[in-house]
């Protein structure tokens, strides 16, 4: 599923150096579990996002492996340390090989 996938990320614009910030991410994706059947009784094949990562200036913050039991429109909330100004990079990996990326700048005051 390559159409209609839209990542959304909420990161504060500024922080003090060494601060802990909360990041919220959501990506619109139907996360077809491979358990459901269509009207004719055929199993709808699995099509999910199987991995999500968040990095800050090349250093890893969180790396999540997703399975079929994650809800539609996968949502994650986690906390990161901001040692300096830079860029958060968010990456989602789809079962069909697509990779969705989003970046957010943060400045240190």
């Amino acid at each position: 599923m390559a159409d209609g996938v839209k990542p959304r990320v909420k990161v504060p614009k500024t922080a003090s150096a060494g601060d802990t910030i909360t990041i919220k991410t959501l990506i619109s994706h139907k996360m077809e579990s491979g358990q459901r059947k269509d009207g004719d009784g055929n199993v709808i094949p699995r099509s999910i996002i199987n991995r999500f990562t968040c990095d800050f200036n090349g250093q890893n913050v969180i790396d999540i492996t997703l399975e079929a039991a994650i809800s539609t429109n996968p949502y994650f909330e986690f906390q990161a340390i901001v040692p300096e100004a830079g860029e958060f990079k968010f990456t989602w990996y789809d079962d069909d090989g697509s990779v969705y990326e989003e970046t957010k700048e943060i400045s240190v005051s």
């Binding site: 802990t20 910030i21 579990s33 358990q35 459901r36 059947k37 990095d55 800050f56 250093q59 890893n60 913050v61 969180i62 790396d63 999540i64 492996t65 997703l66 399975e67 079929a68 039991a69 994650i70 809800s71 539609t72 996968p74 949502y75 994650f76 909330e77 986690f78 906390q79 990161a80 340390i81 040692p83």
Partner: protein
């Protein structure tokens, strides 16, 4: 229908198959724990799993895991067709080693979180969630 020896045996076999299905799912969860921990001992405590007591809709059940000092947390739903839910790996810039997300639950069941600590030990927490409407289609 006449109750013959054959039909009684068939009935018995049918009941056995039905009874063994949830057992199988449970065993799959145990296997998963085994492969994650490598057979090491698991302590209670050290990891917090927050989940609602009653979830009206099994399609989106909010959960939160929190384990200070953990490098990895495995979350499982023991009563799902595939018990594995997600694995959280925390990197160098992760602040509180906690994360929240929304998961699917097929029915009322136990959700288990197992944390792998930085020193190589394991901790476990579980919560029972009552589900009114299951979240696996069908």
């Amino acid at each position: 229908m006449e109750l013959t020896r054959r039909s009684v045996l068939q009935l018995g076999a049918g009941i056995l198959v039905v009874a063994s299905v949830p057992l199988k799912a449970f065993a799959a969860g145990e296997d998963l724990i085994e492969s994650f921990t490598g057979g090491a001992d698991i302590a209670e405590g050290g990891v917090t799993l927050t989940a609602p007591e009653i979830a009206e809709n099994g399609n989106t059940v909010p959960i939160e895991v929190d384990a200070p000092g953990a490098s990895e947390i495995l979350v499982m739903a023991m009563g799902n067709p595939t018990p594995n839910v997600a694995t959280f790996k925390f990197g160098a810039l992760s602040a509180s080693h906690s994360a929240s997300t929304r998961i699917r639950l097929a029915g009322t069941q136990e959700v288990v979180a197992i944390a792998k600590m930085q020193d190589g030990s394991f901790a476990r927490a579980s919560a029972t969630v009552k589900v009114t409407i299951g979240g696996c289609g069908g």
